[in-house]
């Protein structure tokens, strides 16, 4: 039987994939080392995909014989993935130019990474999930090594690739076991198989749970599968890291949540395992971030801690099956915009092709560029979770779910972790507003940078102030 196919459901993904191809063709035709046409095609394509997503994002739907299942979470996550790629593509030209990265492959690769991320967001089929993760990862391996002259960049690419390939092995093995035990590739069948099977199949399913957790844990950079994160963040070009930390993570986060949702009924051990990873990630991420002088490593540990917060939501949904995904959606919304904003500011602060690598390099940023300085205040507050910013409200929602799911201890751990967060995030502000500047030259701000910062700042504050209209637009209560 031919499955019913809704082409419109895959249109946004398709557009992004085709954009990548078009961008590559344009790049080959023009051969322009400045890549301005390549960039324009990519930005336009991503924008089209955004528009189509917003226009068609009406109903939750499944298609392709339920290999594609677009629920609210999937739609919003796709939106966030495309949005982060869009902003990264928007601000990249001046950065690539300053870094003298003349490889036109950046934009097509970015588009394809986005394609992979979008696929991951929109499926509960393990095989499709795997394909999506691989498209995303392989593009990111290439992107990480984009700065050919730099040893750091190459090192980070090879490290990312080797560890990533290893993690993929775990994931695939887990998927195979799942199939072997249940005869299905659809995660959401896990629960019914669990309850209808004998102990042997249960062992297989438990093993597949463990292996898939390792694979997804790597992609989300949960502790103890996080070691690649600081090195890759440090070595890869900043614009690539900006995407890696936002669009590249959203898919993995959503997959983790879906995974927790599907397996949750199998027993308390699922929720507790994920909760354990969450606690480790929050504590290790936050504590190690406190000692960091290197900015990108600090942000890497911060993203590990944030992955911990996401894992908290996954643990919540695994332990109380009724939990809605609104908290995760809102949290991701804030996380993506905040993180993007921080990286855009870092790219702006670059001088002579070198972005600020240590906290000291940020000194006096506020006086060099007030726009960058004050946007950074908003982002840092959101990362700390302080004031009317999405980071605060996101945490409130996650905490509320955690209490609802009777995981009080997890809520306490999460709250106490924020204290460490306040320390090192505030360290960023201390440098930015430090009177002694490391460099007194004012920063010339380009139009795309201002636009991106405006989107991020407005999103971070606006999503709190205009909470109800925002959720209505996202199709949520």
């Amino acid at each position: 039987m031919i499955p019913d196919i809704e082409w419109i459901s895959v249109a946004p993904v398709g557009i992004v994939a085709i954009t990548g191809m078009l961008a590559l063709i344009v790049h080959m035709i023009t051969g322009n080392p400045e890549q301005q046409w390549t960039q324009k095609v990519t930005v336009l394509g991503l924008l089209t995909s955004l528009v189509v997503l917003v226009a068609t994002g009406g109903n939750e739907r499944t298609s392709f014989n339920s290999m594609l299942s677009l629920d609210r979470l999937g739609i919003v996550a796709q939106l966030l993935t495309v949005l982060s790629a869009f902003i990264v593509a928007l601000v990249s030209p001046s950065y690539l130019e300053a870094k003298k990265i003349k490889l036109g492959e950046f934009y097509p690769m970015l588009a394809w990474a986005t394609t992979g991320g979008m696929i991951v967001c929109a499926t509960r089929n393990l095989l499709v999930l795997f394909v999506g993760i691989e498209i995303l990862s392989i593009s990111l391996y290439v992107l990480a090594g984009l700065q050919r002259g730099s040893k750091r960049s190459e090192e980070s690419a090879i490290k990312y690739f080797l560890l990533g390939a290893f993690a993929t092995g775990f994931l695939l093995y887990g998927i195979a076991m799942f199939y072997g035990a249940s005869g299905s590739l659809d995660m959401s069948t896990a629960l019914s198989y669990w309850s209808h099977q004998g102990p042997d199949e249960r062992v297989l399913l438990s093993l597949s749970f463990a292996l898939i957790t390792v694979g997804l844990g790597f992609k989300c950079s949960l502790v103890p599968f996080h070691q690649w994160t600081p090195d890759v963040y440090e070595g890869a070009p900043t614009n690539v890291v900006a995407f890696m930390a936002t669009g590249g993570k959203v898919g993995a986060f959503v997959a983790l949540w879906n995974f927790g949702d599907s397996f949750g009924g199998a027993g308390r051990f699922v929720a507790l395992t994920i909760a354990g990873l969450a606690v480790l990630s929050m504590v290790v991420g936050n504590v190690l971030a406190m000692g960091q002088k290197n900015l990108k490593r600090l942000l890497a540990y911060s993203s590990i801690a944030n992955a911990g917060y996401v894992a908290v939501t996954a643990a919540t949904v695994a332990s109380a099956l009724q939990t809605s995904h609104v908290s995760l959606i809102y949290f991701l919304f804030g996380y993506v915009l905040t993180t993007l904003g921080v990286f855009v500011v870092l790219m702006m602060a670059a001088k002579d092709g070198e972005e600020p690598s240590t906290l000291d390099d940020l000194k006096g940023l506020a006086s060099r560029s007030p726009i960058a300085g004050f946007s950074l205040v908003v982002f840092v507050l959101s990362l700390i979770g302080l004031g009317p910013v999405s980071g605060f409200l996101g945490k409130v929602f996650v905490l509320k779910d955690t209490l609802d799911a009777n995981l009080q201890w997890l809520a306490v751990v999460m709250v106490l972790n924020s204290i460490f967060g306040a320390f090192y995030y505030f360290g960023i502000l201390k440098s930015v507003f430090s009177p002694e500047a490391s460099d007194s030259r004012p920063i010339t701000v380009t139009m795309p940078q201002v636009l991106s910062l405006a989107i991020c700042v407005f999103g971070v504050i606006g999503s709190v102030v205009f909470y109800a209209p925002l959720l209505a637009h996202l199709g949520l209560r």
């Binding site: 302080l386 306040a422 201390k430 507003f433 909470y467």
Partner: protein
């Protein structure tokens, strides 16, 4: 609308100054002071319209905000908060007037304006989440002011300030969410409005069978507010903040008693059983603070540190008054938290004049100022006497009422309190006289040591004079203030009796008006 106006006007103007202040140059200060004058005008207008007989919140505003949490943008003032509201506006104006930042004036005044607006929000918020947002947000401008314009080891001071206060209040966030979850479990609706929550508390339903949760949530709030106040074990941030913060920031943001206000507004009415169960412990901390602060304040090397320990000692009086749960004591606490803001701000204002003349506040370089700066000396005397609680100054009223409340509950042997606490607090009052007068002696008598010591100019005299007048008026005619506090304190006081049925929505239970007035007038004329 007027309350919102008073809150958002300075915040928005502050952001404008932060962004474009540089182009304004020296006009920034005038712009900021005119704006704060307007805000003060609005808040005084609210005070004039305030109905002291009404029981609930006045000037209420409520707009739906986040349905799933039950959070609304909900503001209102009662007899306790209106005074803090007016005081905040006033101190914001004063902070602008006395500050002369050497660099980036636009940004400095921008921060002060944002700070004032946010603190106004703290005192007006009637929704737990909204309150928390304002409460936390108020930390940022103070930390930024310390970082950008502070003295000494400012990075350390700013970090300590932010980390201690932020860290202290994190468990409050968890408690807030827990209260919200419990509220929706009981009522099947979501609300974070303290009026709604308290009405379910008063009916005894919210915490029925959940005593442990009530106690934990109470501690979440208590911890945050005790550190913010600060009460003794959590006070170490205050020393570095007073020493490092620019005086304007101290006046606008630190002397205000947000912590004790929070105890008044949230801890007592929302967790009556837990508050009663822990009353003797908090009273103990209060007495400890009075004695500890009083003793340590005597032998400090620097006037700012004297103020640190005097603040801790004053907070002790607020705590014993509040947790006596007697009407007199609670009125005293409400009055004392207003007075403390006024009287210590007066000292800081005068100190800012001194620092402009090149002094740092170390006693080693002060002395003999009485001869060279007689006007300054007499204004400082008044401010100091208000701090030590001399009759006829506003400091006396709050302190004596708080102690009376503590005696009353102590004699009655309720809540595990006894007279010993009150007696010990009385000894603390003597300590305050000794450390204040000793500090005064070291500053104003003896040999003049260094610095230029020209007496106050007309502007400075005017500002100092306003404070002196306010202190005297507060001491001679406290009924003007007490009358407007009375009803609200009574509602809070009877709400804290478990299962009282007293709500903000419907107003208070029984109060013995004649007894209260007898008590307050004793305090007035003794």
């Amino acid at each position: 609308m007027m309350v919102s106006l008073a809150i958002w006007l300075p915040i928005l103007a502050g952001f404008l100054l932060l962004g474009f202040g540089r182009s304004l140059g020296s006009l920034a200060k005038s712009a900021a002071s005119i704006l704060m004058l307007g805000v003060l005008g609005v808040s005084v207008g609210l005070l004039a319209k305030f109905d002291s007989a009404a029981k609930g919140f006045q000037f209420s505003e409520k707009v739906d905000w986040i349905r799933s949490l039950g959070t609304s943008y909900s503001l209102g003032l009662d007899g306790i908060s209106i005074w803090m509201f007016v005081l905040t506006a006033f101190l914001g104006l004063v902070a602008v007037l006395v500050s002369k930042p050497k660099e980036r004036a636009g940004q400095f005044f921008g921060q002060i304006l944002v700070l004032s607006g946010v603190l106004l929000g703290v005192f007006a918020a009637l929704d737990l989440v909204l309150f928390y947002i304002f409460f936390e947000l108020s930390l940022v401008p103070v930390a930024m002011l310390i970082l950008g314009w502070g003295r000494g080891d400012r990075k350390r001071a700013a970090t300590r300030y932010l980390a201690m206060l932020f860290g202290g209040s994190l468990l409050m966030l968890l408690a807030i969410i827990a209260v919200g979850v419990q509220y929706s479990a009981v009522t099947r609706t979501a609300s974070m409005s303290i009026v709604d929550i308290q009405s379910v508390v008063a009916s005894g339903k919210l915490w029925a069978g959940k005593e442990q949760l009530e106690n934990l949530a109470f501690w979440g709030f208590l911890l945050a507010f005790l550190i913010k106040s600060p009460a003794v074990p959590g006070h170490s941030w205050l020393a570095s903040t007073y020493e490092s913060a620019p005086v304007g920031a101290t006046i606008a943001g630190v002397v205000l008693k947000v912590g004790t206000y929070g105890l008044f507004r949230f801890c007592l009415p929302l967790f009556p059983h837990a508050a009663a169960a822990n009353a003797s412990f908090v009273t103990f901390l209060g007495v400890l603070g009075i004695l500890y602060g009083g003793i340590l304040a005597i032998n400090q090397k620097n006037i700012f540190r004297v103020m640190v320990f005097s603040t801790i000692s004053h907070v002790g009086f607020i705590l014993i008054g509040l947790f006596s749960f007697s009407h007199v004591g609670m009125v005293g606490a409400a009055f004392q938290q207003f007075n403390h803001g006024l009287a210590s701000a007066a000292v800081f204002v005068l100190l800012s004049f001194l620092m402009e003349r090149g002094f740092t506040g170390e006693f080693s370089e002060l002395g003999g100022l009485k001869r060279t700066m007689p006007v300054f000396a007499s204004l400082f005397m008044i401010a100091m006497l208000a701090n030590l609680g001399l009759p006829l100054t506003s400091g006396f009223v709050g302190e004596i009422l708080a102690m009376m409340g503590s005696f009353e509950s102590g004699y009655a042997n309720v809540l595990g309190l006894n007279v010993g606490y009150a007696v010990a607090a009385g000894a603390g009052a003597i300590l305050s006289a000794s450390y204040m007068l000793y500090a005064y002696q070291r500053m104003f008598y003896g040999e003049a040591k260094s610095g230029e010591s020209k007496d106050l100019n007309l502007n400075e005299m005017l500002i100092g004079g306003v404070f002196a007048a306010a202190i005297m008026v507060g001491g001679i005619l406290p009924t003007f203030i007490l009358q407007r506090m009375d009803q609200s304190v009574a509602v809070t006081g009877s709400a804290v009796k478990p299962n009282s049925g007293t709500t903000w929505a419907e107003g208070g239970g029984e109060i013995d008006a004649s007894r209260i007035y007898a008590a307050s007038s004793q305090g007035e004329f003794k």
